[in-house]
Assembly symmetry: C2
């Protein structure tokens, strides 16, 4: 082995990647087989079945996109949008803003519904935006990694479907850590990433399309502008036809298979409870230290804890000491919140009471 791949293992408590179970890493190190090998096709079939269970959906088109969570976002949007389509995009952080940016690149007429960073989008604002013009889709982030806000979805879903509009939801930072009920909540396209609450290395983006979303894809008069992410092609590789589109990232899919298996072995409810309990433990400890959370208690993510940096504290110096002296990674603020918050991830395998205790202890020493 190259001496040059020497580095300290880290305790990953930032906005992702999170720590990965050794069984997932071992699965990724199995020798690749062909992407059309019958043995590999069996693995693909099991992946689809397990992913439906994790996403709580019966949607047939439920697969991992061969790119990171951002590719999932682009796949969700580019497959639905045709030039001129009106898209209502809810923006209450960096990732809502990114959705708006991507919609615009595909020629959409973008209408943003803004909420202050640290707060969720108000359903009434969505209602009003939908009333102002015929709309193709509403796009919203369920778990805003930049602000630590959990966005309630049920009321917005009701309003969106009442208007006959498709609902696209980003669950990159919630799937596997918070309840994400794709079918029950009426989400038409839901995507996520692997490296957060699923605790699988970054590189894949789980995505699911409702029958209504597939119908919209099927009835496009124009081709999807993006070839690599064109679901009208990709689905025939993941479907019974097995038509070659691009070479599947075989070893990443081994890890995905094993990671999904571990999520289901733990059980979704148990996993959500674990994320909630460790979040509460962290917030209690931070509060005791006199630190304040950014979001209101009603809208706090369990997986990503945005805490205000006191004015007397040097953001970068603290994070560097955590990394260099304690091998603990936490995240700095993103976009408008740069320098104002830390983002402490408790995702997947990183969400343990011991990690919370370690971080609180280290912060106590550094801030003392």
């Amino acid at each position: 082995m190259s001496g040059s791949l020497d580095f300290s293992p880290r305790i990953l408590m930032g906005p992702g990647p999170s720590n990965v179970d050794a069984r997932v890493l071992q699965a990724m190190a199995l020798p690749p087989i062909g992407h059309l090998d019958p043995e590999f096709i069996k693995i693909m079939e099991r992946i689809k079945t397990m992913l439906r269970e994790v996403m709580l959906t019966d949607n047939e088109l439920t697969i991992p996109v061969s790119g990171t969570g951002s590719a999932g976002m682009e796949a969700a949007l580019c497959n639905l949008i045709e030039p001129g389509d009106r898209c209502v995009v809810c923006v209450h952080g960096v990732f809502g803003g990114r959705m708006a940016e991507i919609c615009a690149r595909y020629g959409a007429e973008v209408v943003t519904v803004e909420a202050p960073w640290g707060q969720p989008t108000d359903p009434d604002d969505v209602s009003q935006a939908l009333a102002e013009g015929a709309t193709k889709l509403v796009a919203i982030v369920h778990a805003e990694t930049s602000t630590g806000v959990l966005q309630p979805l049920e009321e917005i879903s009701r309003i969106t479907h009442q208007a006959g509009v498709l609902l696209v939801v980003d669950t990159v930072a919630s799937l596997g850590g918070h309840p994400v009920r794709v079918d029950e909540w009426g989400i038409d396209v839901c995507y996520s990433g692997t490296q957060k609450c699923l605790s699988i290395p970054p590189g894949l983006a789980p995505i699911t399309f409702s029958p209504q979303a597939v119908a919209a894809l099927d009835s496009r008069p124009t081709k999807v502008a993006n070839w690599y992410l064109d679901m009208s092609l990709v689905r025939h590789y993941w479907g019974e036809e097995r038509t070659y589109h691009h070479t599947a990232p075989v070893n990443a899919l081994y890890g995905f298979h094993e990671g999904l298996r571990l999520v289901l072995a733990e059980g979704l409810e148990a996993r959500w409870s674990r994320h909630q309990a460790n979040h509460e433990l962290l917030v209690a400890g931070l509060t005791e230290m006199g630190l304040e959370m950014l979001p209101d208690p009603n809208y706090r993510l369990w997986s990503l804890n945005a805490v205000r940096i006191p004015e007397w504290v040097d953001d970068v110096a603290v994070r560097q000491r955590l990394l260099n002296e304690y091998d603990i990674e936490i995240g700095g603020g993103l976009g408008d919140l740069k320098g104002n918050v830390w983002r402490i991830g408790l995702m997947g395998a990183s969400s343990t009471p011991n990690n919370v205790l370690m971080l609180l202890g280290a912060l106590n020493e550094i801030l003392d």
Copy 2:
């Protein structure tokens, strides 16, 4: 470990993936660290340096795209093309056709230069196409995996640059197995995949942009239509700014790092010679069995050997016996050549005399 990831290891002699050295697999199983961790940034820097050596280029913008070889193709084209640009695309197989398709999706005026499948493109045809209109780029496949044809590039590069046009070259099936001299041959954008002659699992696409290609990107009046592959953004993550764009596929990059190290440890010249020698061994054996190669001897790839299937032979039955009885994967024909050729890969770690002997032995038994 899940019993469900049980499968036979295979000897991969198809069009990719190829077999992977255990050291690369072990590297991929190292625990992930953060994509902005200073330790990870060191790994990224070494990757860029090694990739430049493998691609024989000094181009600063030389990185792996976070997707498979097909994403590399799309990244090469979408970053240069603006709606209305005239693109001359050389088509002598499936992948040239795919380039034309992608160019069209980005709004290009596509002019194809066709050659019969099994033959390379004639430089005179490129010359003529360039004479007929102001052109943005010429796109061509160096190693056409669908036909086994090696495309000479130097004359076409001369013609293209004489016309003041950018040259985009697909080296998915040649980089690491055949000489690919990016700077010497004047290639403006060159991309490849990892899972062929580099023998790294699929999931990344090495790509390099010449200063002229970067200038074209910089002077675009319009944004790149594809957000995930937008090099004007991605380069600031791989550059000194380290600006977050998407979460890098950390573990895939560990494997990429180790795979590049192994390529350079062997040495490019030695590696090319090995690919040539094993190709010659295979062709001699196939010829002795009375089988014929599709391409002319002057234009044969060493990495991908397209051999005509005799009329009396059942294509699928032979490939199934190879897979089921011998655990050897070879490829069937693609597109127009389906049922007419086998595609035998001798790529990277799969290119060994023993693999050639095994396959010849197995084919002899099956065809006997």
